[in-house]
Symmetry: C2
Subunit: 306 residues, 2 copies
């Protein structure tokens, strides 16, 4: 059982780039071929299946090109149990394609409940097809150490990983995450830095042979100056950087998140890849997505390897 | 369309108590009758169905006794799509029984993703059976205002509600939630107080005829002194108080969360009610659960009215 931090390291080396394709199937943007997903008259199962079919096409384009995909649970949950069945299918298709799967579920709850989430996404029940399980999940830190500990335990047992939200990419993220914290009179630090220190600590026990921990952190590429500071606070922590592309960050903004060459971070793009065909009507949507992956990989390689 | 804050007010008046039954089906504690849920050889659908069957029995016992139930999503998600199908069935059974449903999902994500979660639990897709939708959901504030705004919009459109995590009941909650925050040299306040101020603000537009907002807050009953302070910071905010019973808080601890008589807060008990039969083997599990609800209601009424 190879720990997530090491599997991630190897997957990036193999792919030759640190790109993650975010599987966020916005209904309004799906190619016409999958219009059933938007059809209010279609049965729920069919609508969900159209989303899964589209994403399986994207996964097919991503195989061998990028190290990982990141399905966004919310867009599946819109279709209830039928959507979750498609989430499982998309995870299995990604595994079959040799891609690491980061389940973007942003769960966070008290002890026994956090253990149930960890089981749901990382271990599964007895006899469950391991292809339907994520390699890593995103986790919200607001509830503190005892809400993260059961997930860490599950990572130890399964070789799974987690990415803890530290500084998110959205405009309002500063509201709490950048609040100065500290006892009156003492030196202050933004809340995100306290969370980063906790993440560094949580990850110590989960460092693999590559030196990277299986406990990662989410830091928005939209905050380049903070990215470099947070990288220093979490030297063994793999970062996940959302915000590239549609959310405004470019290749120069992500450099501070890396440590040596292509290692240290994954950069996520969702809409910019999934819906690249919208800007290139002359191309098939799948070719447009593949082209967008190649362009992103080249851009990041140029920025990181010079 | 009556806003959640008003529906909650009326439901508490009707039931004559502020109890919520937390539907957290810990596998190990399920009565022998539902042992299929624990059977590693049983198909996943059957295991999930056993959990749903048990909870439908609890819902039957709760009907007319308490104003609300709070299904915990994690325990359903362990069984993937089959578990989520049971979550939908349990929500519908609760609605049919006249109970308000607080979906304990603790979601929190950036704008368009938060909108998808709000749709998933509060609005549904076109043609979806409204009985499968929650009246309110729990929400994590770590990502700030723009992560909550789409859920607020959905509450305005649907009459739904939300409970934002402010100060949770678990031991580690102090780690970040009690951190002193504020600019260097200025007066500090715990992070939870900043979140409470935001919750008060977020809820202003959603105050109903009863005066209560549809934007509520989660504050652990395990922190009685903070409860009174947070109550003052959020005068129109319905509170949801976990931590009663199995987690250690008693009736005296919850009084500070209330405002007049039975109004102002809901008190949650999960294991203490669901698995009351474990301590009373002479009773049927359903009668034991009903008895535990009656005892909790009487205890809270005595503390609040008497």
């Amino acid at each position: 059982m190879i720990p997530f931090g090491d599997r991630l390291h190897d997957a990036v080396e193999r792919a030759g780039n640190p790109c993650v394709v975010g599987l966020d199937p916005h209904l309004a943007l799906l190619p016409e071929e999958f219009a059933a997903a938007r059809d209010p008259e279609a049965p729920r199962r069919e609508r969900a299946r159209a989303i899964g079919d589209f994403l399986c096409g994207i996964i097919d384009a991503a195989a061998g090109k990028v190290p990982a995909v990141k399905p966004q649970s919310a867009f599946f949950e819109v279709f209830g149990a039928d959507g979750v069945a498609e989430f499982e299918r998309v995870v299995a298709a990604s595994k079959d394609a040799g891609l690491l799967v980061i389940g973007d579920v942003k769960r966070g709850d008290i002890g026994s409940t956090a253990a149930a989430y960890a089981q749901a996404f990382l271990r599964g029940i007895e006899g469950q097809d391991p292809r339907t399980l994520c390699d890593s999940i995103t986790v919200n830190p607001y509830l503190g150490t005892d809400s993260v500990a059961p997930i860490i335990d599950e990572c130890k047992g399964t070789g799974g990983g987690m990415y803890v939200l530290v500084r998110t990419s959205n405009p309002s993220s500063a509201e709490f995450q950048a609040l100065p914290t500290g006892a009156a009179g003492a030196e202050t630090a933004p809340l995100a830095d306290r969370v980063a220190a906790a993440v560094d600590h949580w990850g110590q026990d989960l460092r693999g042979a590559s030196g990277w921990s299986s406990v990662g952190a989410v830091v928005g590429a939209t905050h380049p100056s903070e990215l470099a500071r947070l990288r220093r606070l979490m030297p063994n922590t793999p970062l996940l950087l959302p915000g590239y592309g549609a959310q405004g960050a470019g290749a120069a903004d992500i450099v501070g998140g890396f440590q040596s060459g292509l290692q240290g971070a994954l950069v996520n793009s969702s809409r910019g890849i999934l819906f690249a065909g919208k800007q290139q009507p002359e191309k098939h949507w799948k070719d447009a997505a593949a082209g967008a992956m190649d362009a992103m990989a080249a851009e990041l390689r140029a920025a990181l390897l010079g």
